[in-house]
Subunit: 320 residues, 2 copies
């Protein structure tokens, strides 16, 4: 029997699904907007129904072993297949998603945290291909990530491990959503970039291209800051440099603690790569310990929006 | 054949050796001052000769399988059995210690980093007994440590992983011996305590009990600061509290990243436990992520000076 994998990336904005071979080739993929307006159960019913449709379309489905992996926000209880405090989907805390889906499709299913799925996808066929010791960092609305130690995802005793976004980098820094202060996330996320721009404008006044965008400061996005940097806006560029220096401190900690071969950086804010990466690397090479820093390579994610479905499929393949 | 283990802790001041059962019971131990005054090779010859004597004294040695583990400062190349940049013993960089000792005793030998040996010893028969996910932190002249992930020592790709003393906690902090700045080590080590006392005295003048001890500031030790704290010295107590707050930030990072069951703290500076631990725990419980902080227990090391020989023996037992 041929093994076929289905990877699902259940995001707050979009849900993606793909049919994937055991070699990481995506045969078919779909994407649709995640709609929670009618409640989370309706959203999950839609997911199950789309998944059934996708499976129906697999020509060789009757002669294949099919396994499904699903990446979800927040930690997961791998053994019981339940969600733990998913951000923005708090009603789904303790929801038995694996049982829910396995009642609707006749194939085994594994859950994986979405940042771990990103990390696994990049390690399988992306920028960390072949590495047994590596870290993944996603720069999105928040900062997520995962750590692979000797080929295995670091989970810790309850599956909450690998929270690279919540290393404290500056004890007096801004308050973080996690309850801490000065975590990597408050500096290197989209939200952090936005805050740093607004703070800089408050200090220095409106001087650059972001004047229009920041009139309604609630609506400013890190993409707008990136576009302003692209058009030569000096303040936007400086904010990304500052973000890069903090990201670099996070890379120092990961490098000293994990002695990884690679650190892969992805997520939407990583689109501004050229505006922050040299500062991040400079801090890393100035501050990390010699043995570790000479080994580590900091690389840009290669799988784009597919990392999540690839990693979820990989998790399904590796599950016993 | 009965398995017997010999654990060696090759320290800069003292060398310890013990004959240990596979259940962690120490049958016999010796200790002597590490003498490098005639060069490092003489020091190693003495170690080999003391080891031979210790083996001679084992009554059942002819009917036993004997394995030897040795904990050494600095990272080790486990596969080749060589030392990597041992601090204060720089002549021994790349020294093939395993081969050197295996030519002198007819038993297999494994090397282990000393902070890892501490961690393994406490996990075997000490304060982290039974835990599969835990961290060890040694507060000595520097800050060392080790991390056990799912029952295995975290090593990273070259064996340099687990450097818990070199997480950056304050990017503007004092310069650290590692080349970085504001690492846990500059705040939570004996050297850090001494520096903080001297800085406080420079700011505030000599007011307390440490007046005598700090006349020659080069000679001030963290033990003297501890004794002053015991005698009620307010400045000494405040310095330990400050150290505790930084240690707490380090515990936040370990807790968020590793989701450990336990964090074991040892080393000579941990003698001042009652003067820093409540601040450290307060920061941990204020700042770490909820799931992780509700699980972790911060405990004091239980094996004392034996942790190193126990952990080295354990490493020898577990080596294939």
């Amino acid at each position: 029997m041929r093994l076929l994998l289905i990877g699902i990336d259940m995001g707050g904005t979009n849900t993606r699904m793909g049919v994937i071979t055991p070699y990481g080739k995506i045969l078919n993929r779909i994407q649709y907007r995640t709609d929670v307006s009618k409640g989370v159960l309706k959203m999950l019913e839609e997911l199950a129904s789309r998944l059934q449709d996708l499976i129906q379309q697999i020509p060789e489905k009757d002669h294949s072993e099919i396994r499904v992996g699903i990446g979800v926000p927040g930690p997961v209880d791998l053994n019981r297949g339940i969600l733990i405090e998913p951000p923005n989907l708090s009603e789904l805390h303790q929801f038995p998603l694996r049982d829910f889906l396995e009642r609707r499709i006749p194939f085994p299913l594994v859950l994986e945290n979405d940042a771990n799925a990103f990390t696994l996808g990049e390690g399988w066929v992306g920028a960390a291909r072949g590495a047994r010791h590596y870290c993944g960092v996603t720069l999105g609305t928040g900062v997520g990530g995962g750590v692979v130690v000797n080929g295995e995802m670091l989970r810790g005793v309850d599956g909450f491990g690998g929270e690279v976004g919540h290393m404290v980098l500056n004890p007096e820094g801004p308050i973080c959503g996690c309850g801490g202060r000065g975590c990597l996330e408050v500096f290197a996320s989209g939200t952090g970039v936005r805050r740093m721009v607004l703070e800089a404008i408050e200090r220095e006044g409106h001087k650059g291209l972001l004047k229009e965008e920041t009139k309604d400061s609630e609506k400013l996005t890190s993409e707008e800051v990136f576009r302003a940097a692209e058009r030569g806006d000096e303040l936007a560029q400086r904010v990304f440099q500052e973000m890069g220096r903090y990201l670099g401190l996070g890379l120092v900690n990961l490098t000293n603690l994990f002695n990884p071969e690679k650190i892969v950086i992805g997520g939407k804010v990583s689109g501004a790569w050229n505006y922050f990466i040299s500062q991040a690397r400079e801090v890393l090479y100035q501050r990390a310990m010699r043995g570790q820093r000479e080994r580590v390579e900091v690389v840009r994610a290669e799988c784009g929006d597919d990392a999540g479905i690839l990693g979820a499929a990989y998790a399904a393949m590796k599950q016993n």
